[in-house]
């Protein structure tokens, strides 16, 4: 693309070596060279454009220092050009000066009267150097290398060429924010008589760390006239590009390099002669712009949560194509972002429809205006929303947060949306769902039923007590059962021991029953229980059948275990008292009965102690 454009530039430069187009009166002062040798001369020109030739009065030569005017009367050149159907007239006056000595010289402002107005040129500084420092044969003319010397070019020639023909890179700013637009314009400057052809891009122009957008530039440019350091140049724009830094830090944009065939006439004394000179040749040359160094700062830290990296100036518009739809009927939401900035990488504005809407990925259309000096245009996002439930829904606004480099602030543009009424009833989803009824490209809906709650600060299972208690309890029960079983087995296998262990409980049971009879005044039953308690205890403790024992047999048994005489007497009397009350019509006093109970308990204790003492004797021996 750029090759074609540069080739066209070359052809144009071949035929167009005219002064710049001007609408109003323009007065320019220029010199043929700003650096001359002591043996050379310099031509000072005053050019007046856009004025009727009859209104221009011949000016006086300007005052100078370090120079000597060769001829006071200027040479005059007039030209008339038709550009784009408009007639342009210009006239120029030229004086020739010679240097007095090596050192700085100066041509002061020249005044020109045009009609009833007076215009002044800018002062121009001239550097006069010793003639030995100038290129050989040079005589105040821009000179191109001679034929066949393109590959062995002398440094002097290179310097001269750089002065006659160069590329300048002009950046809109050298310090920018992340993703802020910086416009770089590559301008080709060339002097009168310079002709170019077969121009093409050399090497690869790159801007690492930047997103790039090319501007449209005129494919048939009309050169502008520029005065640079007192020398008149013609300038055309080769390339204009917008770069958006994608990272912060010090970044460099590569030089723009072109290769071309250039022609500069030599030996001519002025532009007219240079144009028609046939003494030069086209030579292959390479031109390069300087690299552009940019300092990129990150965006400020206070970015809102909705910010997604957009930098520039934007405005959001949004709308839906229907405001009353059926369930399942698609609604198109169109969001348009207009403004200046890097639209190509601009993310979709923030929009979260209610969850009952299925939202599909948007169709995106970007329109960029590449004219002018700022990338601007619009980006359209078309969403399809499908409501899955009826009702009237307030659609949330569409918002875009961006950083405005001019104001240095984060701004938010918002577009409100109308309410959407959805009628009809929901139908089961057939398409777009898995066999399990789950959406294929979307999340499953929320759980709406009652939640099964748990305490959030509850300790984990292994740190709770109940699991261990639940484990220990059956073990305890089993141990208890096992112990009970063992005990039962032991008692079954040893009747003496079983009876001995049962003696106390049974005696206690009979004594408690006797107390109840005492309370009720039933004397016979009382004494019957007293007798059963005493004889039963003796039988169980001594492992003999209690039923049918005579008094003497009981006495003999008690003697055998060492029960004392007094206790045996008490027992005998007690048993006799029991017999008397049970078998004779005798009602004893309550105190007598209480006393009988006490004696029975005492006898039981005495027998028990005697048995224990007897059983412990072998162990103590």
């Amino acid at each position: 693309m750029i090759d074609v454009r540069l080739a066209i530039f070359g052809m144009l430069a071949f035929v167009l070596t005219v002064p710049a187009l001007a609408q109003d009166v323009a007065v320019r002062g220029s010199v043929s060279e700003t650096t001359i040798g002591t043996q050379e001369s310099v031509v000072f020109s005053v050019e007046i454009e856009g004025a009727s030739l009859s209104d221009v009065r011949t000016p006086s030569p300007p005052d100078v220092s370090g120079l000597v005017l060769v001829q006071r009367t200027p040479s005059t050149h007039r030209s008339m050009t038709i550009i784009n159907g408009r007639l342009q007239q210009s006239v120029s006056f030229r004086w020739t000066y010679r240097p007095q000595e090596a050192g700085p010289a100066r041509i002061k402002a020249a005044s020109v009267a045009v009609g009833d107005r007076t215009y002044s040129t800018e002062p121009i500084s001239i550097t006069v150097v010793d003639q030995s420092q100038r290129p050989n044969g040079r005589n105040a003319r821009p000179q191109w290398p001679s034929a066949g010397s393109s590959t062995q070019e002398s440094p002097d020639n290179a310097v001269e060429r750089a002065r006659d023909l160069f590329i300048r890179a002009v950046a809109s700013t050298l310090e920018a924010r992340l993703n802020e637009q910086v416009t770089i314009e590559y301008q080709l400057f060339f002097r009168d008589g310079v002709q170019l052809r077969q121009s093409r891009l050399a090497g690869s122009w790159d801007a690492e760390g930047f997103w790039r957008e090319e501007f449209n530039v005129d494919s048939r440019p009309v050169p502008e006239t520029r005065v640079e350091n007192g020398i008149v140049y013609h300038m055309i724009v080769l390339k204009r590009v917008a770069v958006f830094p994608t990272r912060s830090g010090d970044l460099t944009i590569d030089p723009l390099e072109i290769e071309t065939e250039a022609y500069v006439p030599s030996g001519a004394s002025d532009a007219f002669d240079r144009f028609f000179s046939m003494r030069g040749r086209f030579e292959s040359v390479s031109l390069s712009s300087p690299p552009v160094h940019l300092r990129v700062r990150p965006l400020p830290d206070n970015a809102p949560g909705s910010f997604s990296g957009a930098v520039g100036t934007y405005a959001v518009e949004a709308g839906i194509d229907e405001s009353d739809v059926e369930v399942g009927e698609p609604v198109q939401l169109e969001v348009v972002v207009r403004g200046a900035g890097n639209l190509a990488t601009l993310d979709a504005p923030r929009f979260q429809p209610p969850a009952i809407f299925e939202r599909y990925d948007p169709g995106i259309e970007t329109s960029i205006d590449r004219d002018g000096r700022r990338i601007r245009g619009s980006k359209t996002f078309r969403y399809v929303l499908v409501p899955r439930s009826n009702g009237t829904y307030e659609l949330p606004p569409v918002t875009l947060t961006y950083f405005d480099p001019e104001s240095g602030r984060y701004e938010t543009s918002e577009a409100a949306l109308p309410a959407l009424r959805v009628t009809g009833s929901a139908s089961p989803l057939a398409a777009g769902t898995t066999s399990g009824g789950l959406p294929i490209d979307d999340i499953a809906p929320i759980h709406a039923g009652a939640a099964s709650w748990h305490a959030v600060d509850a300790p984990p299972l292994h740190r709770r007590a109940w699991p261990y208690a639940a484990l220990a309890l059956p073990i305890g029960l089993l141990l208890f059962l096992y112990a009970a079983r063992r005990r039962e087995s032991a008692l079954t296998d040893d009747p003496r021991r079983a009876r001995s262990r049962m003696a106390h409980p049974l005696a206690g049971k009979h004594l408690r029953s006797a107390q109840e009879h005492l309370a009720d005044g039933r004397s016979r039953a009382f004494y019957k229980e007293i007798e059963r308690a005493v004889t039963g205890f003796i039988g169980n403790r001594l492992h003999v059948a209690a039923t049918g024992l005579t008094r003497n047999q009981i006495d003999a048994l008690l003697v055998s275990v060492g029960v004392g005489r007094d206790d045996r007497t008490v027992l005998r009397n007690l048993l006799d008292e029991c017999d008397r009350v049970r078998f004779a019509p005798l009602v004893p006093e309550r105190e007598t009965m209480e006393h009988a109970g006490e004696r029975a308990a005492a006898v039981i204790l005495a027998v028990d102690e005697a048995v224990k003492a007897r059983r412990s004797e072998p162990a103590s021996v």
């Binding site: 979260q352 429809p353 209610p354 969850a355 009952i356 809407f357 829904y393 307030e394 949330p396 898995t434 399990g436 789950l438 490209d441 979307d442 999340i443 499953a444 809906p445 929320i446 759980h447 709406a448 039923g449 009652a450 939640a451 099964s452 709650w453 748990h454 305490a455 959030v456 600060d457 984990p460 299972l461 292994h462 740190r463 699991p467 639940a470 484990l471 059956p474 073990i475 029960l477 089993l478 059962l481 096992y482 079983r485």
Partner: protein, 250 residues
């Protein structure tokens, strides 16, 4: 008598307190669901948080929070709460579906160091059974075995009862041990989800940057915690230090 009165008083007092807390959580849960349906996901998340602040959580609550964060394009938080939900609702297909969908949007794709066999088995079991469920099943089998053993003690040595005791007791003990191990593992293996878009691992707390970056949504293991810094282990075994605020524990 006094003990009975005390127990009754504690029960009478504690039951309404729990019911009141659950009511609050229920109310916020329902309100969050309503806001979610209206598309106000931020407000829905706030309501769900208030339910948690009431002292109660649930698998459904975490799942709905994951959905709300997903709608807000907060991938890290959505994966975090889906993972939490999966702990409580391991058998729910919609939880697994949403978690899979969210995981599919993670930009990191670390290779995975093969874990030990026992850990793989534990993770697979944990995907279906919660520790409490494992323990409960084990406890029922254990009680059955204990009942058989009790009958064996009381009624005599029957071969059938002995086989029943072994048949129930051995799997019961296995389930119980699995449940307790899974519970212990959950507490002592801290998993987390990275919440920042991009986090660079450091070689030590407040130290130099490594060339390893981890992105939002990646699940890591928190190995060490030291003040504001934590050492995390990536799925490929790489470790590094990050600020504690860059991740959210599951």
């Amino acid at each position: 008598m006094t003990v009975r009165c005390l127990i009754a008083a504690v029960l009478l007092f504690a039951a309404p307190v729990r019911a009141q807390g659950v009511d609050v959580a229920d109310r916020h849960f329902d309100e969050g669901n309503r806001l979610f349906r209206e598309g106000d996901f931020e407000a829905a998340v706030e309501q769900y948080r208030m339910a948690i602040e009431a002292g109660y959580g649930s698998g459904s609550l975490y799942y709905n929070m994951g959905n709300a964060y997903f709608r807000m394009d907060e991938l890290g938080q959505s994966i975090r709460y889906y993972e939490k939900a999966a702990r409580w609702l391991p058998a729910r297909t919609d939880v697994a579906h949403n978690l899979s969908l969210a995981r599919g949007q993670i930009s990191d794709s670390f290779s995975r160091v093969p874990p030990p066999i026992w850990r793989t088995a534990l993770e697979r079991i944990g995907q279906v059974w919660s520790p409490a469920a494992l323990f409960t099943v084990g406890l029922l089998l254990y009680l059955g075995a204990a009942g058989a053993l009790a009958m064996w003690i009381r009624r005599g040595r029957s071969a059938w009862l002995r086989r029943a005791a072994y048949g129930l007791g051995l799997p019961g003990v296995c389930f119980i041990l699995l449940g307790l191990t899974a519970s212990y593992d959950r507490v002592h293996t801290v998993r987390a989800v990275m919440l920042e878009n991009r986090t660079t691992l450091l070689d030590r707390p407040n130290g130099g940057r490594t060339d390893v970056q981890v992105h939002e949504g990646t699940v890591v293991k928190v190995v060490t915690q030291r003040a504001a810094w934590s050492e995390v282990q990536l799925p490929n075994g790489t470790t590094g230090w990050v600020l504690a605020g860059t991740y959210g524990t599951i």
